[in-house]
């Protein structure tokens, strides 16, 4: 029974595909999985948008949307209908083809990333040996879409937003990769399935998730920062800083194309949370051995929704960074720290079992973290702002 519930989606797929002739079955199975992903994650996107609007409201002591349907739960439907019925405007001077392709490309690329994510036991669409590499190839391609949108709009705000976005995404791509490389070093595989299996072990009922090791914790923190910047989320949402850039690279988009950018952004967040879950939080494995009877896909989706809540929480808390702060943070703090984390992961690997590696690795990371924090803040003066030119 437990086994059936755990494998319910796999069994459902086999049952549906069973109606077709044998030579069609492999192709039909893939198409079915793709349809499930393309239908399922936008549904989660709708849930996330609702959670975000209600949650942010509560954090600011507001009520949030509560008009459409009971408690406002139909708000995403209303938003969807609104964006579908809005006029689609293409600026006269815009490059119409590229302008049209940019959102389409974004959505396609973002969904491609899901191909390699293990969403439950035996629930990986394509079990690639170099799944992590494929994922990063796909997530890095979103930069192209952003730049296509900014360049083709022929609008200074769009272009500035796109420039910022590309600079930011390239800068944070590096620490994102570096923090994942530590996981690859310890696991010895680029396959995401293997990474999850390596974490799906228990000692005294507690899991072997990488976040519970010193290098894994540091790596996860750096991964979370880089992922937030990579998806252009607050506090790193400079590319769409509405106070200075209208809406950034999608200023000139309206109607459904705008909705596609919106969808791409949130589905990208879900997918990068999925990767973070897979790499550091044990993927679909249960948090306690005693909870092993709960279906594996439940844990995966619970974990990514928890990550989304953290994203929302951060957005409700932190103000936007300045461009130079953003770049300094990426190159002077996050990148050196992830490089150090690689060394620590190597040390962890070669010190063998025992308590000594816990002490040594934790000590190195904590000392360097504190020292870098102190060093970075030394010449910063916090206090009332002084104006040099205007009083």
């Amino acid at each position: 029974m437990i086994e059936t519930v755990d494998q319910i989606f796999v069994l459902l797929e086999h049952w549906l595909v069973g109606f077709l002739p044998v030579f069609l079955q492999p192709a039909a199975g893939v198409v079915l999985c793709v349809v499930a992903i393309i239908a399922g994650f936008p549904a989660l996107f709708a849930v996330t948008v609702l959670l975000e609007r209600k949650g942010l409201g509560r954090m600011q002591n507001r009520i949030g949307p509560n008009r459409v349907g009971p408690l406002g739960i139909l708000q995403p439907v209303a938003d969807g209908i609104k964006s579908l019925t809005k006029e689609d405007i293409v600026p006269l001077k815009a490059d119409a083809v590229v302008h049209f392709l940019a959102p389409v490309y974004l959505v396609v690329v973002v969904f491609m990333g899901y191909a390699v994510l293990p969403m439950g036991r035996n629930m990986t669409l394509v079990n690639m040996d170099a799944g992590l590499l494929f994922y990063f190839a796909m997530s890095a391609s979103t930069e192209l879409s952003v730049f296509m949108a900014g360049w083709s709009s022929r609008n200074k705000y769009s272009l500035l937003g796109a420039m910022r976005a590309v600079a930011q995404m390239i800068s944070y791509e590096v620490p994102l990769l570096m923090s994942s490389v530590a996981v690859v070093m310890i696991t010895g595989s680029l396959s995401l399935n293997r990474i999850v299996e390596a974490q799906n072990q228990y000692t005294w009922g507690l899991p072997h998730w990488y976040i519970f090791t010193p290098w894994g914790f540091a790596g996860f923190a750096m991964y979370a920062i880089a992922a937030t910047a990579e998806t252009n989320r607050s506090p790193f949402d400079l590319p769409e800083g509405e106070s200075e850039l209208v809406a950034g690279y999608f200023t000139e988009y309206s109607g459904f194309k705008f909705a596609e950018f919106f969808l791409g952004e949130y589905v990208g967040m879900l997918s990068i949370s999925g990767l973070g879950t897979t790499l550091f939080l044990g993927g679909w494995s249960a948090p306690f051995e005693s909870l092993g009877w709960v279906p594996s896909w439940f844990w995966f989706f619970a974990k990514i929704m928890m990550s989304m809540c953290v994203f929302i929480w951060l957005r409700g808390t932190l103000p936007r960074l300045r461009q130079d702060q953003l770049m300094n943070f990426a190159w002077k703090f996050v990148l050196p720290f992830t490089l150090l984390n690689l060394m620590v992961a190597a040390l962890w690997r070669f010190m063998g079992d025992g308590w000594a590696r816990w002490v040594v690795c934790s000590a190195i990371l904590v000392v360097v973290y504190v020292a870098m924090g102190r060093g970075g803040m030394r010449r910063k003066h916090f206090g009332p702002r002084s104006y040099r030119y205007a009083e």
């Binding site: 954090m59 002591n61 808390t317 932190l318 924090g373 970075g376």
Partner: protein, 208 residues
């Protein structure tokens, strides 16, 4: 230490999030169509015409002097002066507006018409739910729509209305005293009680 401020901030928003479910005082939202808060006394949006007494047409304080029409920056007021005269609140024969239209789709709520009116006839209203399906006719207010009683004025701007009443009463007393003096003088001059009163007391005074 680095990151301390972020943790403090996260704790603050978490407190807000949890607190908003527990204590209703935290939520400042007024859910408008169902809940309303009384407007503050200084609220103003569009002008209206004040009338005294029970009959809006007879009691309008406006004498169609057209100062407001000329002063109105976006020129949203249109007045047509009457051909005949009617006695005003002080009993003096005055013109009255045969037509008084304000296009509130043009009005910018600057209150200049109120400032320039020498007769305290035009004041600012607080009514704001003026949306209509007819954007031309529905937003062009004629004098019937604009006329509102002095009691209504007292209701929305009590302090200001009381001041206006005092001022008007003073003016009226002055006029009456003058008339009395003139009557006495003319009576003394003529020596005969045949003088007819030039000014009669106004009828239908509705002022509190």
């Amino acid at each position: 230490m680095l990151g301390e401020g972020i943790l403090k901030g996260l704790a603050e928003t978490a407190k807000n999030f949890a607190g908003s479910f527990v204590s209703a005082e935290r939520l400042t939202t007024v859910q408008y169509p169902e809940q309303r808060i009384a407007p503050i006394e200084a609220t103003r949006d569009f002008p209206f015409l004040v009338y005294d007494g029970g009959n809006w047409e007879a009691g309008l304080r406006c004498v169609a002097c057209q100062i407001c029409e000329k002063e109105c920056p976006p020129q949203c007021i249109h007045i047509e002066k009457s051909k005949d005269k009617k006695p005003d609140a002080l009993g003096k024969p005055q013109f009255y507006p045969a037509r008084f239209d304000i296009d509130i789709s043009v009005c910018m709520s600057c209150q200049i018409c109120v400032e320039v009116c020498p007769f305290e006839a035009i004041k600012m209203d607080t009514e704001f739910e003026l949306s209509t399906t007819d954007r031309f006719g529905g937003l062009l207010f004629d004098r019937k729509r604009l006329a509102k009683s002095n009691e209504y004025y007292h209701g929305i701007h009590p302090t200001e209305a009381a001041e206006v009443d005092v001022r008007l009463a003073k003016e009226k007393a002055k006029v009456e005293a003058k008339a009395k003096a003139a009557a006495a003088a003319s009576a003394a001059k003529a020596g005969a009680p045949t003088t007819k009163p030039t000014v009669g007391p106004a009828e239908g005074e509705g002022r509190a």
